[in-house]
């Protein structure tokens, strides 16, 4: 076991060291030095993660749960830093480090001309470190550390181009909205500590069932289920990080950051931290059906309504961003339906195909000279065959085309929700099914507008178009492979086999275990495919989505404009993103400043100072005329006088009483 411990430490430290070297000594080691040191760091981390994966998943190693050091102990609680390596964390480790590795390589091409080259590499390696700490944690403290640290790096990277006003607005927004989530998360952790008197996962999960019926008083006299309070508080944290309605508002704006981090942080890894966290906490969430229903409903709203917004965006990255929101909604729905394994499955496949799509979008963006508006693209398939093909695979996976990774993971979620009996599952089922049509529509809208149809860029740009360099296309190809085939390999063991072992707990009672129900009918991937053909509703919706996209954006490109003029009202709602941003600006941003001004001007200046203090101070004006002598320069006379005065007073006091 001992050498495994060293491997785990190396997995975490390799990217950190790379980041520190690139960040602190970037000037000395130069650009290539910075990318080499970080790429080697994350490559080591990735390869060792695969070793750990093999160790746990194939060689059957026991779960590793050890403390590294005690952060502090206070009041009988030891706050520790330590690792829990089990199927859940080892899966996340492989996904995070592998995607990160590919994105490091891609960055060489994408950030080629950027003056902040070294800084960028330093940040993304730091992110990898933070994300690993988050997923490898064996306790809530370290989870929160990683949780906030990835938020910090996300903040730094969204504002990477710090001269851009929109970027530095977006990064602050992202941090603050995440803080709202963290606010709930921290209260959840506090509730956990109060209940279990420890923050260690293993101890908490072992004792969780004892508190299934415990209550807590929050509003006068009304007892609430303790587990519901804990789970909803924790889930509010997940809503921030995994961008669920209404805390989703930061994610589309985060597209102000460079594309590689949109792929790594805001699609593949960080935003899935909430999904991972809830899966990790399954022994707690299983104890509260109220919380699960809440999750189910929030997830369905996100899945459906955020997908709709993707239909009206023209910025290529923003379309992918809304798609990410919608897919995160799918994962959340799966969590709510107690199909944690299905959520994790979709998380894994999504990490690959969404990273692929973002990197593909990025490849297009560089080729057309940092133009992100799809209305100025088109016809690119001719000049960028590799990008075109890999993006096609990514798009097919995203819409769940039969046989691709996305098909298996998304169909599993739809089926799981279908079997769920929780309150809200009907709405959730409607959302995820309707979402299929919308996903296909916006995905192929993007695909057609970008790669097909007329070339809408200016002639000069068109002349210079070329395929992206190998540092860009190789990661695309490498990511395309799992996007297509991984699902077929994983579905059996992950959903219906013993892949996660005890890492995920689903209560056998109350019809929670929807995956087990599905498992009874599961007879290999062939049967799964056949099942979806026999019940073709989902496939029909998907095909009609593609068809409509083809009609509107290839065949009759003037349809969308006509449609907009017909249903301008709905279009406007979608363009305004349902008004969330305006509402937040008007109520929270402006409101807080208003409260601040009021408390300052009225509370501090008028009441406290004006009424109480200056009443006293007026009498002091006399005093102040004396004090002006301070400025005469005879400092030490004055000081001496004061000290002597004090001693005299003391002496008089002492002898006079």
């Amino acid at each position: 076991m001992n050498n495994m411990e060293q491997i785990y430490i190396a997995i975490v430290l390799a990217p950190l060291i790379g980041s520190l070297i690139a960040g602190l000594f970037g000037k000395f080691i130069g650009r290539s030095g910075a990318h080499w040191v970080t790429i080697i760091g994350v490559a080591i981390s990735s390869i060792l993660s695969m070793v750990a994966f093999k160790h746990h998943m194939f060689d059957g190693a026991a779960i590793y749960n050890q403390t590294l050091y005690t952060w502090l102990s206070s009041g009988g609680v030891d706050f520790k830093i330590g690792f829990l390596i089990d199927p859940l964390s080892v899966t996340m480790m492989v996904v995070v480090t592998f995607v990160s590795w590919m994105i490091h390589i891609y960055t060489i091409g994408y950030m080629h001309d950027d003056p902040g080259y070294q800084r960028f590499f330093s940040y993304i390696s730091l992110f990898t470190f933070a994300m690993l700490m988050l997923v490898m944690s064996n306790n809530f403290l370290q989870l929160f550390f990683g949780w906030e640290a990835v938020g910090l790096v996300s903040y730094l990277l969204i504002g990477f181009w710090y001269k851009k006003e929109t970027a530095i607005f977006a990064n602050m927004k992202a941090f603050l909205v995440n803080r709202v989530g963290d606010f709930g998360f921290l209260l959840g952790i506090a509730a956990v500590l109060m209940t279990f008197n420890t923050l260690d996962y293993a101890e908490i999960f072992a004792n969780a069932s004892q508190y299934a019926d415990a209550t807590i008083i929050i509003f006068n006299g009304e007892p609430w289920s303790l587990m519901t309070v804990i789970c909803i508080c924790l889930f509010i944290g997940a809503m921030g990080k995994s961008a669920q309605v209404p805390l989703h508002v930061w994610l589309p704006d985060s597209m102000e950051g460079p594309t590689p981090i949109s792929a790594l942080i805001h699609a593949a890894t960080m935003v899935t931290a909430g999904i991972f966290m809830v899966s990790r906490m399954s022994p707690l969430f299983e104890l509260s059906e109220t919380a699960l229903s809440f999750i189910l409903v929030i997830g369905s709203i996100t899945a459906l309504f955020m997908g709709l917004l993707g239909l009206v965006q023209n910025d290529i990255k923003r379309v992918v961003a809304y798609s990410t929101l919608s897919q995160l909604g799918y994962m959340t729905v799966a969590l709510g339906a107690s199909a944690y394994a299905a959520a994790m499955f979709h998380l894994v496949t999504h990490a690959f195909f969404k990273a692929l799509l973002f990197l593909g979008a990025g490849a297009v963006i560089i080729v057309v000279h940092h133009e992100q508006d799809m209305r100025k693209m088109g016809g690119l398939y001719k000049v960028m065959p590799i990008t075109w093909l890999t993006c096609l695979f990514g798009t097919l996976a995203l819409i769940g085309f039969p046989g691709t990774s996305g098909f298996f993971s998304k169909d599993a979620i739809i089926e799981a929700v279908h079997h769920s009996t929780l309150a809200g599952s009907g709405f959730a089922y409607f959302s995820v099914v309707a979402g299929v049509f919308i996903t296909a529509l916006y995905s192929f809208r993007l695909f057609f507008m970008t790669f097909h149809g007329n070339q809408r860029m200016d002639v000069e740009t068109w002349k210079h178009l070329h395929e992206a360099p190998p540092v860009v296309t190789v990661p695309l190809i490498v990511l395309a492979i799992p996007s297509v085939i991984l699902g077929a390999f994983l579905i059996g063991p992950m959903l219906f086999g013993d892949y996660f072992g005890n890492a995920i707990y689903v209560s056998a009672a109350g019809g929670h275990d929807v995956l087990a129900v599905m498992g009874e009918d599961y007879h290999g991937i062939g049967g799964f495919l056949l099942h979806s053909i026999k019940h073709p509703m989902v496939l029909l919706l998907m095909s009609s989505g593609i068809f409509v996209a083809w009609l509107c954006y290839i065949k009759f490109p003037d349809i969308p404009a006509k449609l907009v003029s017909k249903i301008g009202f709905i279009y406007k709602i979608l363009l305004n993103k349902y008004g969330f941003d305006d509402f937040n600006q008007a109520v929270f941003a402006k409101g807080s400043r208003g409260i601040g001004q009021f408390l300052w001007q009225v509370g501090d200046i008028n009441i406290i100072d004006g009424f109480f203090v200056n009443g006293t101070a007026r009498s002091v004006r006399v005093f102040s005329s004396v004090v002006r002598h301070v400025q005469s320069g005879y400092l030490y006379h004055y000081a001496f006088a004061m000290i002597i005065g004090l001693l005299v007073l003391l002496a008089v006091f002492v002898h006079g009483v």
Binding site: Y162, G596, Q597, V630
Partner: protein, 506 residues
Amino acid sequence: MTLNSLPILSILIWTPIIGGIWALIAGDRQEQTVKYFSFAVAVITFIFSVILYCQFDPTYAGMQFIEETDWITAFNIKYHLGVDGIALPLILLTTFTTILVILAAWEVIEKHISYYMCAFLILTGLMNGVFLALDAILFYVYWEAMLIPMFLIIGIWGGPNRVYATIKFFLYTFLGSVFMLVAFLYLYSVAGSFNIEALQQVPLTLTAQKLIFVAFFLAFAVKIPMWPVHTWLPDAHVEAPTGGSVVLAAIMLKMGGYGFLRFSLPVTPDASLYFSDAMIVLSLIAIVYIGFVALVQEDMKKLIAYSSISHMGFVTLGFFIPFSIVAATGASAGAIMGMEGAMMQMISHGFISAAMFLCVGVMYDRMHSRMIKDYGGVVNTMPYFAAFMMLFAMANAGLPGTSGFVGEFLVILSSFKASFWIAFTAALTLILGAAYTLWMYKRVVFGEVTKDSVAELKDINGREAFILFLLAVVVLTFGIWPAPIFEIMHVTIEQLIEHVLQPKIL
């Protein structure tokens, strides 16, 4: 003479004072010598505090390194010093901060630098005295004497409106402490001694306790400061020179917190229980109300000053939450966590506020403005500075991995045991703290350079980088591994809580 037989506490008090007097005598004629000399004195004092730390026995709850000599025998007043797990971290903080302050003044203070050094060295000695005194009158003497150098620092090296600020500062704190003296005299009449440990043991009626509590409250609440007696602090900070702000925020505010721990809680435990709900409410008001006020400040120093008040709300919350926890759960387990968290918050705030004020000082030295609107795009011309300030801004916002997280985290965790709503209100700082800090950072540091003055800024020099680097190391170290601080104070705090939870009504 071995190291052990040295009167190390007296050395900690008198080394800087004597050094300061020498600097005064040497005067402006030998500026260079005085600067190096003062730096040496600060370093030596710090080394002595480290020696004290090394020799300190963290398993012993009571006072250590006790020195006791008669001073004014007629009233049983003694020169009586000692250190325990509460005072020791504050001593280390004081001596460390002095080094920073002396370095920060190096090329910046143009007039009477010798006197400036003198004032800070004497101030250090007196502040050490406050933390080490075990005799109430000795404590009072240090407490009041400390005001003088601070008064001079603001009054002489301060900004244009310094007269108003110094008077406000002096009046507030002086009026507060007069009541403390009255309380000491009353306690003397009951206990027959000014020995602080004896005062902590003496039984008192509840009425007497309440009155004494209020008297102490006036002294300590002003100092820390608590809402609504906080308005002197932003004014004092705005007018104070950088070094003055650093000492004010890093150490002098902590004296209020120290006073609560040393006097209010142990001398009047029953009154503390009686007033605990009110104290908690005032603390929560400080956290939220002041957080909102900080949001709209246009002057960076005012913003950080308000942020300090808000952070100090966690200190008083942590000190008085134990009563509510015991009332809610019947056990004192979570109580220790809250109080230790509050102590940690004091230490950490010392580093972070010092760093923030130094950052503003670095910019002020170049631009002679503290107004946010005069900046914008500083990162373009001062990238290294921007990186440091980012770290400290995040620490100020309580990011995990920095020391700023530890105290707030523990106080919120423990207050949840008392009540969901207390934790809820306190945790709002997560949002507010990030909002006011990052919004300021965005407007000052990020963005395009639009002003010529910003375009001409020069990045930090070696001396400034060294100061900020020291603070960065400390802030990160205690964020990643705060255990050493807690080990020092465990047994002392445990004993204190045990004592405070025992009624001692006459």
